[in-house]
Symmetry: C2
Subunit: 493 residues, 2 copies
Amino acid sequence: MTEENQDEPLIIVSNRGPAKFETGPDGEMVISRGGGGLVTALSGLVAHRDALWIASTMTPEDAEVATENGTEPVEVELGGVEYRVVLVESDPRAFDLFYNLIANPILWFIQHYLWDLSNAPDIRLEEIEAWNDGYEVVNRDIADAVIAQIEGRERPVVMLHDYHLYTAPALIRAARPEAVLHHFVHIPWSQPDSWRVLPGWIRERIYDGLLANDIIGFHTRAYCINFLSCCEHLMGYEVDYEDLTVSHPGGKTAVRSYPLSIDAAGLERAADSPEVAEAEAELLARRRENLILRVDRADLSKNVLRGFTAFDTFLSQHPEFREKVTFVAHLQPSREDVPEYAEYLERIEALVAVVNHRHGTTDWMPIDLKVYENFHDALARYRHFDLLMVNSIFDGMNLVAKEAPVINTRDGVLMLSENTGAHEEIGDFALTVNPFDIQDQADAIHTALTMAPEERARRARGLKEAILSRTPGDWIDEQMADIEEVVLREPGA
Amino acid sequence: MTEENQDEPLIIVSNRGPAKFETGPDGEMVISRGGGGLVTALSGLVAHRDALWIASTMTPEDAEVATENGTEPVEVELGGVEYRVVLVESDPRAFDLFYNLIANPILWFIQHYLWDLSNAPDIRLEEIEAWNDGYEVVNRDIADAVIAQIEGRERPVVMLHDYHLYTAPALIRAARPEAVLHHFVHIPWSQPDSWRVLPGWIRERIYDGLLANDIIGFHTRAYCINFLSCCEHLMGYEVDYEDLTVSHPGGKTAVRSYPLSIDAAGLERAADSPEVAEAEAELLARRRENLILRVDRADLSKNVLRGFTAFDTFLSQHPEFREKVTFVAHLQPSREDVPEYAEYLERIEALVAVVNHRHGTTDWMPIDLKVYENFHDALARYRHFDLLMVNSIFDGMNLVAKEAPVINTRDGVLMLSENTGAHEEIGDFALTVNPFDIQDQADAIHTALTMAPEERARRARGLKEAILSRTPGDWIDEQMADIEEVVLREPGA
């Protein structure tokens, strides 16, 4: 950053902000921290320099705060970090279309290859309207809020986040050609043919929207390559696979990989709380010889069904493990408004019933399915698993694969899908599986539960070292360094 | 071809051969021509030079012929062309696993992006066994038959066909390092991530199998690029996107596009038969002002459901067309042993019932669904459509889009999916649609049925010219020219 620039707040933009306003049990306003690795990762940045966070309202109380304060930032202190937040309220119908018809499921499904193409999606007037009157409207609202905040500043820096905001950058760029725009995409970037489910004109809005940024960041180099390939084959733009750049009518955009890391110290602190100790005590009272664990949002991309089928296969092929292993599946409810998700959860429950019926005994329920949100219980389980199952179909990064091994106390083994972003960094110390290969996953369960203690220890050590070798600070610093280079160039150069 | 080489038979290898032996109504042996554009396309080649065709047995009578003749070619005359055929019988269980578990659906589904990944496929012991004891066994049998036929020849030329025979080339190459191997893939080649549903070791067998060829041919340049991208990103091989070559441990393989054409003269002759005239008379007696037609195998890739939904939308949005349009959907039953196909046909029938119920009247059934095989009826319909719907999700080439316009007599309009191989050649004269975009297809129906006669005539003329500008002879000649170049090189050079 140049001296001059240091004095001006950095603008962070994401769909969900760092703070959520709600009404407490006694009618008072309660402020809680927004969920997800994004807020954790960026809080280090916010703690050390002047930043302003722009986000959409999520609750009625958020909307009240937005109405009261308008473009004036609200100051919020959470976990020792002071945030300055501007909340943007969109028309509720527009937000619903944006969120429940376009971002989830359409974009999410495309980028995780989840569409069952012979059946869905159908692009009808409804979806076209959801694009025009939903996604574009919310992006316009967010872009307007950004434009208002950077008014009068010569070379403002704006960092946008994720798949909710693909078209906002072009709107900001049109108003402020000299702004420095950076966009980090937290989910995979899928290959060109997967984007063909969208009408050409929507694809153009997405790509030209994103390419209005100076820099686009992804978790892995593979996603960068996929993005370039899309720009080449869907848009006909000139790309450079060595320099990782796209040349387009609006200029040149750099595409970079910045793998997100976890805040290990914060995680250790959280795991040392009395609530976690209590959850651990309960878990230890009931634990069998072997504990298999998965902790995921109940999302189709997480591959929950095949994980249970693999466990079913393992129990059939290795009856000696009967009554000696419990598979705790801790699923956080997610997107229950999207029909595909409600249906997925039903199928999960049905499959668990089948597997428990097939293998269970009076004294033993092989799969313990818990569908709820509880961070302390998750941390307690992280501490005591023997095998952590991360078998995602496709997964941008997967932070559970980085968090759980760091605080595990049993040299627990990590089963890791080769299609996760995390696999690029820590795959060497995991049992790599193909997420579609049931037998491979059943074999990995057996390998993990019969692994020699020295080998478990070696792998657990390797995992921790690899995970701890990067911090969220590195993630931020690499992005800021690239942004600084752009700031120091002439605008438009 | 060199002089010396001209005297030796060219070996053609495909799963289905040019002739099918069956028992006729009076117990006599009946020989009929094998179906598909492949046989048509290659018959020109077979007519003009010495060729030997190796194929799997399809019927019990085929198997009898195989047993009687062993490696001795059978001579068969069909449609004025003399074929020399060697039929190879595999173990029936191996053939069933090869055909019904691996080739269809697994490979077909991968290459047409048909897997609903959060549900299927599951790679279990069953699938692994089907690979080892099915696909590999049939490929071994075919390879052995090829090796037997080329014994003692210095520089034999072998042309293999399609997705049934991906591993045979490596087996032939191992036995005969100096053979010239050419493989044409008739279906799309999909992008790298779609192949990740297969275990890594099966992917390696497929890619190393195919790369044992000197040349691999596809219908379009886009499939060549996808194949190279797979070799680069799945196998780590060095590829050249300019020269279209792959460098691998076994050498260097050229990847080329040869778009398949239709035999227009043969089609005209067939359409001039009394059977077609009779079918036309019946069709004309019942035709409404507008006839929409689709003729397809009942395959998930053909996008039959969305075609009907688009017609449903069109009828709702344009009630002025009520009772003035019939949508004849002529579907040829296909792969009824594969559960996904049986289910697809059920869903097609259910949707037709819904649309007919919603819009039909006492005197008018909007969709006329015909599920049967009848070439004469298809030709009669080709002659009289006003709009031909080809809206495939993904489609290697789609020969219906080339055949029907050539003999159509009404300046019929072609609706053509942008994801068909044919679109690269004839898209300019079609109404291009996005196969997932229902509204786009509904709009295209309206555009076609309200198009000015001059515009229809202009497009119909353009279509015919573009289609007739290439013949199956060109397709063959281009491949033979490339083969000749390899033959003239030193083996292994």
